[in-house]
Amino acid sequence: MSATAEQFINNPLGTRTTIDDVIEDMEFLDDWEDRYAYIIDLGKQLPTFPDEARTEENFVHGCQSQVWLTEYVDPDTGQMYLLIDSDAMIVRGLAAIILVALNGRTPRELLTLDIDELFERLDLFRHISPTRGNGLRAMVGKIRDRAAQQAAA
């Protein structure tokens, strides 16, 4: 399991790349092409998703594309690390932004965090279509569910 744990912990998204970096970057992008090119690039930074985690339990329902999500809690620090995968590039990009915002926090932190406020700062919902927004909410919902499970464990 240690190789897998490293896969989780070494994910730069949300650890070395922070939400402030992304907000700063996005401020300079004024047309949709640049914005989406940036989102697509972020998606390319998602770490490889472990094949064995592609299970029904980890499948995120409510997205137009196929999305999987799995987590690992560091037993020493209690931080929850996430991996997300999708076959659609824009969804991968949005998943990367979610990871930047939420990766490496403790389950309790995640449960008290005002995620909507965070995304508002990113001005994200304004720029993505409603169906995409539903996918984003589905991913965030799944992360909250996992956080709740881990917090109760």
Binding site: W32, Y36, Q64, S65, D87, A88, I90
Partner: protein, 418 residues
């Protein structure tokens, strides 16, 4: 006999005045994400002309009441408008009489109603013949019926080009076949199925025929007597009418034999705790207060279509499809799914390296509306080995310029991913 297939006279070009037609559809002249809307999702739902909006508005302003009930003028007006709409639909389909025209909520409810009504007709081991290209609405109600009766749902194969495999059809149409339920036009592939031919073969074996016309009626006018089908169903909202209403045409003799679908007001003749009897056709199948304004709206849509030259409309749609096909090579890695020679202007496609949902999102940014996903046809997706496709579907109000914008948009998306 009416030509039941799509326009084959592609050289005819009587010049449909598309700009004038577009003015009849107020929704089309708006900006989406800062670009003029190109609405290419007509197979999912079509837009409504002013004639429909006005008819529904006028109905509510001047004539609304419940139908077949009130002892007053508005009750009469509403009933006249409602039954007038039924007559309009009868004329559209060329049914023998209005007893054969049942209002439903849409194609889906119509098929469910038929499946419910044919339960008595089936025994364990009987077969219901469908095809691999059916919409879930023409699969699942039959599976539910099969579950109840012990019958089997058997799918006819589809060729790689997206046509019905006639060898497979002839092989599967057998002694145990009781029902043939098939789409007139495929919602994913655009293929126009040779339903007249299928009905003839089915009838020779006394098989009941159900034709799903949801994707056919926006493009051409079916004639149920020429087709000689037992049932023909469609939804108003794909025919430029309002949502929430659809049509079930059924041969009177068969409708008479079928039990009611839902119980309630309107569908009864007499109710007592000892014995309740059913109303006459078509009311036997219309429990509860119907969608009156929607019926009026659908009739207005049919009347509106009646003012447009059919041949010009079909030629114009054909020109849209031709232009689209000619532009496919301009997008490297683009592959069209459904290449039957006889098809309506529907273009399902995939592009190497691009997920359909990414294509949909990035076209939307350019004001272009298409559908992505499995199109409620998972068995067909499985057949083509994809989880989904992108689908551009055109109506007679679309322009060649919009087709070109679609392809320019796709090229732009490809550049974004380089």
């Amino acid at each position: 006999m009416t030509d039941l297939s799509v326009a084959k006279t592609m050289t005819a070009d009587p010049r449909l005045d598309v700009e004038a037609i577009r003015r009849d559809f107020p929704i089309l002249s708006q900006m989406i994400n800062g670009k003029p809307l190109a609405y290419l999702d007509n197979a999912a739902s079509s837009q409504k002309p002013l004639a429909v909006l006005d008819a529904m508005d006028r109905y509510y302003r001047t004539s609304h009441s419940n139908v077949h009930r009130g002892a007053h003028t508005l009750g009469d007006r509403a009933t006249m408008a409602f039954e007038g709409a039924r007559e309009t639909v009868r004329g559209f389909l060329n049914a023998k009489n209005t007893r054969e025209i049942v209002w439903t909520r849409g194609t889906t409810e119509a098929i469910n109603l038929i499946a419910h009504g044919l339960a008595e007709h089936l025994q364990a081991g009987d077969e219901i013949l469908v095809s691999h290209m059916e919409h879930h609405a023409n699969i699942v109600p039959w599976q539910m019926l099969a579950e109840r009766t012990g019958a089997k749902v058997v799918p006819v194969k589809v060729t790689p080009a997206g046509e019905l495999d006639m060898e497979s059809f002839d092989e599967l149409l057998g002694d145990r076949t009781r029902i043939l339920a098939i789409s007139h036009v495929s919602n994913v592939l655009g293929t126009v199925n040779p339903v007249r031919d299928l009905i003839v073969r089915a009838k020779a074996r006394n098989v009941i025929t159900v034709i799903d016309g949801a994707q056919a009626v926006p493009h051409f006018q079916p004639d149920v007597q020429a087709l000689a089908c037992d049932f023909y169903v469609f939804s108003s909202h794909k025919l430029f009418g309002p949502t929430g209403i659809g049509v079930l045409y059924g041969r009177e003799e068969l409708l008479e034999k079928m039990p009611p679908y839902q119980g309630g007001g309107e569908m009864i003749e007499r109710v007592s705790f000892e014995r309740t009897t059913w109303n006459i056709l078509p009311y036997k199948f219309e429990a509860g207060t119907p969608a009156i304004a929607e019926a009026v709206g659908l009739a207005a849509a049919i009347d509106y279509l009646g003012t447009i030259d059919r041949a010009a409309m079909e030629a114009s749609e054909w020109a849209l499809l031709e232009r689209a096909n000619s532009l496919v090579p301009s997008v490297p890695g683009m592959e069209v799914i459904g290449t039957a020679p006889g098809k309506v202007p529907v273009l399902s496609f995939k592009i190497e390296g691009l997920h359909p949902s990414d294509i949909g999102t990035l076209l939307d940014q350019q004001g272009i509306a298409i559908r992505t996903g499995n199109h409620c046809a998972m068995p067909l997706m499985d057949l083509y080995g994809v989880t989904g496709t992108a689908r551009a579907s055109f109506a007679f109000y679309n322009t060649l310029e919009e087709v070109e914008r679609l392809f320019a948009g796709l090229q732009k998306i490809q550049r974004l991913f380089v």
